[in-house]
Symmetry: C2
Subunit: 142 residues, 2 copies
DNA sequence: AGAAAATATTAGAATTGTTCTAATATTTCA
DNA sequence: TGAAATATTAGAACAATTCTAATATTTTCT
């Protein structure tokens, strides 16, 4: 089997830099995740995508991989719905619209929301991150 | 058994207004939830509190009640952690600090955070609510 | 390259938080 | 009070996720 060497080595480097062995499964998931621009996936979701792309990978590995990628900063976890976890390939500072009706996320660039001020944090704590979730729903037809 | 008639009738009214029958369990949970100021509870958590307060109520009823109270606007659900649901007795407009280390929430008054502007919502949608979650963690000791 | 050590993957079992079911109990109201 | 409406319950079912421990792959060492 032949593959695109440019894409291949980019993905390979990405994993190597992160200190993760470039295994067949990780490479494949990496390509699925990063070769088509920003996206938000759930584990089941990515597992299904992998399957339909002909990649043989277990659900356990998908979970492992998503967590490892998150740990090394390749992904960011977004909490919007407590029945499912979403992972975002956009790890830069930004926020989200969440369309509750269909459980789908849309990025909001950091500069589109401007948080004027923050109150002081509870004693003995520091801010890790500020998440803004704008929950929207389909507008009723006029 | 005797009870405080003032508190009793307040709770009773609250349920009546919401169109919920004032059953023994709902009254008891209502008192636990609202008689001690703003608080954030999970179902398991409230169930345990009820048990230790000597209230006999099943976990299923705790879940039912939390959802019913949420539906009628007595509670608000807060999504910060996808392993557990939190319900907030403060239903006014406000935000949260979330201390990830111990999974605990602290209210931030609405006016303490000022969201300068919001980008336009995805086509065909309206904003339901804007949730700001400031994730904090214990600061490392100097 | 070949062998040993280190790390990954996997299927399926286990766990967790939550929801469902359907039988029983309580509450309402005429 | 008694029929109809609504609640509660124990336990089963469920869905997402994590764990287990056996097997496979990858890396390292010589």
């Amino acid at each position: 089997m032949v593959h695109d060497n440019r894409a291949f080595s980019e993905v390979l480097d990405r994993l190597r830099e992160a200190g993760l062995r470039p295994t067949r499964q990780r490479m494949a998931l990496c390509k699925l995740l990063f070769e088509k621009g920003d996206c938000h996936v759930s584990a089941e979701n990515l597992h299904a995508e992998a399957k339909s792309a002909g990649i043989k990978v277990s659900l356990a590995t998908v979970y492992n991989t998503l967590h490892q990628f998150t740990d090394v900063g390749l992904l960011r976890q977004v909490v919007v719905d407590n029945s499912r976890s979403y992972f975002d390939t956009n790890v830069t500072d930004h926020h989200h619209f969440f369309v509750e009706a269909d459980g789908h996320l849309v990025d909001i660039p950091a500069e589109a929301i401007d948080i004027g001020k923050l109150p002081k944090t509870p004693p003995g704590t520091n801010v890790d991150r500020v998440d803004v979730i704008v929950r929207v729903s389909p507008s009723r037809r006029k």
